[in-house]
């Protein structure tokens, strides 16, 4: 009898260990899609920030058309409903993401950050074609909005 009991406990522990390891190493397809989508979304922000930042930093000449297009893209990106990206279990407990558990623990605070970004990018889009100074003035708050969310909800690199 004791032998059987030990076997059962051992088998149960093995299952426990294996399933934990599986959870750490493998994502469900839904989790993987969410992770891929939000990282792609971040790349699109960076891509569109590029020309605006280059102009704001006076590394490239101001071009009203390019600035307006990039700012419109940022505003459109910010307005996308991202709620399906943030699948449970895709925080820093898994490999390949710096999304802090605070996102899920404080979803209202996290969403408030997106609301700020929507406002800042909408303002930028409305003035990006009105000259370098107007664009620059509206670009600062967009950067602050990026930082504000990353301050609380993104972990440092390992």
């Amino acid at each position: 009898m004791p032998f059987k009991k030990i076997t059962i406990i051992a088998a149960a522990s093995a299952v426990g260990i294996v399933s934990t390891a599986f959870a750490a190493g493998h994502l469900t397809p839904e989790q993987q899609r969410g992770l891929d989508a939000r990282q792609a979304h971040m790349s699109l922000y960076a891509f569109n920030l590029g020309p605006l930042g280059g102009m704001a930093q006076e590394q490239i000449p101001y071009d009203a058309e390019v600035a307006s297009a990039a700012a419109a893209n940022l505003a459109a990106l910010a307005a996308i409903d991202e709620s399906a990206y943030w699948v449970e279990g895709t925080d820093t407990s898994i490999e390949g993401t710096r999304a802090k558990p605070e996102i899920w623990a404080d979803m209202a605070g996290f969403e408030a950050e997106q609301v700020k970004l929507v406002a800042a990018t909408a303002t930028l889009a409305s003035v990006a074609g009105d000259g370098l100074d107007a664009m620059k003035a509206a670009f600062g708050p967009v950067g602050q909005s990026c930082g504000s969310c990353h301050e609380s909800y993104r972990a440092p690199r390992q």
Binding site: Y45, A46, F47, L49, G50, G53, A56, Q57, T92, R98, K100, G140, G143, Q144, C146, G147, S148, H150, E151, R154, A155, P156, R157, Q158
Partner: protein, 294 residues
């Protein structure tokens, strides 16, 4: 048998001498004589020294130094005190000399050692004109009547007497970058090593919590336990000086990622400096030894 009292007596003498040599040593009474405060420069010193990053409440206003932020460490959790202008709960009742002593010598107005979570080991290199300017600026900021919370640290670290020997080991007014032969490098060294106290996070610590100066700015474990504070020597940070200066202004990296974590609060401060000051910090980071990641 007679040896024991002798040994005991010897131990008392050694401990007494140790206490005496490492006793709290505030500034001398006339240290600030002849200095006229300039609160406008004080506002710049306040930003450069990063006071608000630690002493404001989470999501609180930038100028209300009410305290309460928690800083985990291997020795326990330190809680930033109220250093607003409130005469009871803040520093409103401290004299200029008491405040300057706290900032550059780590001695409180009650004569005890302060914990080095308050980076006086960096501020000790600040010049006293900047310190009196800073104090004048702090006196213009609003008061908060929130009492300071006690630090949450256990024995033996809760015995402030142990800080005497610690300070003797780890406090030095020598620059880490020994030679800064241009005015820009000198300014960059001052902003980075003294006021900005960048090394407090970017340099690893030894078992006693002292900075490992042979790995100056080469990155460190994050005391919060999460990720790493990056190596910002040229051994790992390959950005141009202009890119570093821009990051300190807008928080954007060259590929338009943004600063995150604790660095967001730092950028809030560095964005208030002049372009020249940010360029000086960047020049300093390029001048210190390049150290590879371990």
């Amino acid at each position: 048998m007679a040896r024991w009292p002798l040994l005991g007596g010897f131990a008392v003498v050694v401990l007494g001498a140790g206490w005496f040599l490492t006793r709290p040593m505030p500034l001398p009474d006339d240290a600030l004589a002849g200095l006229t405060p300039d609160p406008q420069n004080g506002a710049i010193v306040f930003a450069a020294a990063g006071c608000a990053s630690c002493h404001t409440a989470e999501d609180g206003p930038d100028d209300l130094l009410t305290g309460g932020k928690r800083f985990a460490s291997p020795f326990g959790t330190f809680i930033a005190p109220n250093i607003s202008s409130d005469p009871v709960h803040g520093i409103g009742g401290w004299s200029d000399l008491e405040l300057a002593s706290a900032i550059v010598t780590g001695v409180s107005n009650d004569g005890s050692h302060l914990y080095p979570a308050f980076p006086y080991t960096s501020y000790t290199k600040a010049n006293l004109q900047d310190v009196v300017d800073l104090i004048a600026h702090m006196r213009t900021l609003p008061a908060s009547d929130v009492p300071s919370a006690p630090h949450e640290i256990g024995f033996p670290f809760n015995q402030r007497i142990t800080l005497g020997p610690w300070k003797a080991l780890y406090t030095s007014d020598e620059w880490v970058l020994a030679s800064a032969d241009t005015p820009q490098l000198e300014r960059g060294r001052y902003l980075t090593e003294a006021l900005g106290h960048c090394a407090e996070c970017h340099t690893p610590r030894d078992a006693l919590g002292g900075l490992q100066k042979d790995r100056w700015m080469a990155g460190a474990a994050n005391p919060s336990g999460e990720g790493r504070i990056p190596n910002i020597t040229a051994g790992a940070l390959t950005w141009s000086e202009a890119a570093i200066a821009e990051y300190l202004k807008s928080g954007f990296t060259p590929d338009f990622d943004s600063a995150g974590g604790e660095m967001v609060a730092v950028i809030k401060n560095t964005s208030r400096l002049t372009d020249e000051d940010r360029a000086a910090i960047a020049a300093y980071l390029k001048a210190i030894p390049a150290i590879s990641n371990l």
